[in-house]
C-alpha cells in the first residue's frame, strides 16, 4: 500500500467513524427547554371564608359578584319564625374586580347602618413547600356608615368623619395535604364604635384587634365544610350588641364559576368593620342564625 492509498483509506475511516457516530446520535435534536407552567397557589378555593377573607385571589379581570344574607331571628324562634328564615335579614351586596392576579379591589354594601366598605386585597408571597404550602396576603380598607341607627348620633351628618372606619387584615393560609386548609387572619379595626365623637362624653377613638381563624376541609371537588372563629385579642369590645366573638360553621359547594355557602352563625353582621367589632349572641347560648353567601365569577376581558 502506497502513501496515497493509505491516505485515502485513512480519510475514509475517519468519515466512516464520523458516520457511525452520527448514526448513533438521536435523529431529533428537540428537547423541552421550559418546565411546565406553575400556576399560582390557591389554597382555599374561594377568596372568602364565611366572614373572613382568604389569601386566594381572582384571575386578572375576573369580576366577582357577591350576595350574602344573615337571618336576624335565630333558630330558637322555632317553627313560628321558620327557624329564623321569616326574617328580617341583614344582607350584603358586593362587587370585586381583579386588577391583576395578585390584586383584588372590592366594594360592598350592607343594609345594617347602610355600611359601605371598600377593600383591597394583595397576595404578596407564595411558599411552594411540598409539606405545607403557604400563601400570604394583606387586606386593607375602609367603611362608611352612611345611616347609623344609634340614638346618640341621630343628628350627626352622614358624612361626619366619625362615621368612617378603617381596617387591616394580614392573611396567612397554609394547607396540610390537599384537603385541609387553615387560615389565620389577625385583624385590626380602627374606630370600632362609631358612636364616639364630639357629641358624646367620651371622644376617644376606639379600636380592636381580633385573630380570625378559618379551617376548611375539602370533602370532594364539589363539597367542603368550614368553620370560622374570630376571638378578641385586644382593644375595645363594649359596643352594645357586639360584645361577643363571632363563630360560624357550614358547608360550601363550588362549581365552575360559583361558590355557595350555607352556614349557622352567632353573627348577624356582614361587612368587615361590623363583624370585627363583635356580635351579640354568646356562643354559650347555643343559639344560631342561618346565613348564606353566593358568589359568581364573571369576566370582562374583551378578548374572551
Amino acid at each position: 500500500m502506497n502513501m496515497k492509498s493509505f491516505y485515502y483509506l485513512f480519510i475514509f475511516t475517519v468519515l466512516l467513524i464520523a458516520q457511525i457516530s452520527w448514526g448513533q446520535e438521536p435523529r431529533v435534536s428537540w428537547q423541552r427547554h421550559t418546565p411546565a407552567t406553575q400556576p399560582d397557589l390557591q389554597l382555599f378555593h374561594s377568596p372568602h371564608g364565611i366572614d373572613l377573607p382568604t389569601a386566594s385571589t381572582l384571575q386578572k379581570w375576573d369580576i366577582e359578584f357577591e350576595i350574602s344574607h344573615r337571618f336576624v331571628p335565630t333558630t330558637s324562634s322555632g317553627i313560628d319564625g321558620f327557624y329564623g328564615l321569616d326574617g328580617p335579614v341583614n344582607m350584603r351586596l358586593a362587587l370585586g374586580l381583579a386588577l391583576s392576579n395578585q390584586l383584588v379591589i372590592a366594594v360592598g354594601r350592607t343594609n345594617y347602618n347602610d355600611n359601605l366598605d371598600l377593600g383591597v386585597k394583595y397576595r404578596f408571597l407564595q411558599l411552594r413547600s411540598k409539606q405545607v404550602p403557604t400563601v400570604l396576603a394583606v387586606r386593607l380598607g375602609g367603611a362608611w356608615n352612611s345611616d347609623p341607627h344609634y340614638r346618640e348620633i341621630a343628628n350627626r351628618s352622614k358624612t361626619d368623619l366619625h362615621n368612617f372606619q378603617a381596617f387591616g387584615q394580614l392573611i396567612f393560609n397554609s394547607s396540610f395535604g390537599r384537603k385541609l386548609v387553615i387560615g389565620l387572619v389577625p385583624s385590626y379595626l380602627y374606630n370600632a364604635d362609631i358612636r364616639w365623637g364630639p357629641e358624646t362624653v367620651n371622644t376617644e377613638t376606639k379600636d380592636i384587634l381580633r385573630l380570625g381563624t378559618l379551617i376548611q376541609f375539602y370533602v370532594s371537588p364539589l363539597w367542603s365544610v368550614l368553620i370560622e372563629w374570630s376571638p378578641y385579642l385586644a382593644g375595645y369590645k363594649r359596643l352594645p350588641a357586639q360584645e361577643n366573638n363571632p363563630l360560624s360553621f357550614g358547608i360550601e359547594l363550588e362549581t365552575g364559576g360559583h361558590f355557595f355557602k350555607l352556614f349557622l352563625t352567632n353573627n348577624q353582621y356582614l361587612n368587615t368593620s361590623q363583624y370585627l367589632a363583635g356580635t351579640d349572641i354568646p356562643v354559650e347560648n347555643n343559639d344560631w342564625r342561618m346565613g348564606f353567601m353566593i358568589t359568581r365569577l364573571l369576566k370582562i376581558n374583551p378578548k374572551r
Partner: protein, 190 residues
C-alpha cells in the same frame, strides 16, 4: 480507489444533508384551543404553550417521518381563574400530568394547492396518564422556512379516565373539541 472514495464522500454528505427537523416556532402566534359545548354553558380553554417537532428524511414528508407535539396544560386559560383551577386540579390533574402530547408519524399527504397539503397523522395521544391510538386529519401549509399546521379533533374525556360529576351544576362536555394552529420552522442540527 479515488473514485470509490469520492463516491463514499458524496453519499455521506447527501445522507447527512437530507434529513429535516422542524420545531415549533415560539415566536409565532400559536394557538391550542379546547372547546366544551355543554347544554348549560360553552367555554373555551386556550394556550399558546405548544412545543415539539416534525422530522422526516429526504424531501418527502412521509419518509421515516416522526412527530411529537406537547401542550403545557397548566397554561390553559378558560377565561375564569376558578374554572382553570378546577380543570387543572379536579379533571386534568396537572400536578401529575402537566403535559399532554401526541407522538406519531405522517401517513398520508395530498397536495391541495401550491403550498398546502391535506395531511393525516397516526400516533398516540397522551392525556391524563392514558395513551390512545389516534388518527388526526390536518392541513400543512408551507411558509417561509417551515410549515403552518392546523388540525381539529375530538377527545372523549371518558376514554382518558376523566370523570365528570353527574350533577346539574357542572357544565363540562364529555366530548372536548380540540383545535390547533401553530408554526414549525426548520432547525439545523447543532
Amino acid at each position: 480507489m479515488r473514485m470509490i472514495f469520492h463516491l463514499l464522500l458524496l453519499l455521506f454528505f447527501i445522507y447527512t444533508g437530507l434529513t429535516a427537523e422542524y420545531q415549533v416556532d415560539k415566536s409565532q402566534k400559536n394557538l391550542v384551543k379546547f372547546i366544551s359545548d355543554a347544554p348549560l354553558e360553552s367555554f373555551e380553554g386556550v394556550t399558546d404553550k405548544i412545543d415539539g417537532y416534525l422530522f422526516f428524511e429526504g424531501d418527502n414528508l412521509l419518509q421515516n417521518s416522526e412527530l411529537y407535539f406537547e401542550v403545557d396544560l397548566n397554561s390553559l386559560d378558560t377565561g375564569i381563574g376558578l374554572r382553570n383551577t378546577h380543570m387543572r386540579e379536579n379533571y386534568l390533574e396537572t400536578s401529575n400530568f402537566p403535559f399532554t402530547h401526541f407522538t406519531g408519524k405522517l401517513i398520508h399527504l395530498e397536495k391541495t394547492s401550491e403550498n398546502s397539503y391535506q395531511a393525516k397523522a397516526q400516533g398516540k395521544m397522551f392525556i391524563h396518564g392514558v395513551e390512545k391510538e389516534m388518527i388526526i386529519d390536518g392541513v400543512l401549509m408551507q411558509v417561509d422556512d417551515g410549515f403552518r399546521i392546523q388540525a381539529k379533533f375530538i377527545t372523549p374525556l371518558s376514554e382518558y379516565k376523566i370523570k365528570i360529576p353527574k350533577i346539574m351544576f357542572f357544565k363540562l362536555d364529555e366530548n372536548i373539541q380540540v383545535e390547533v394552529d401553530f408554526y414549525v420552522k426548520r432547525v439545523e442540527k447543532p
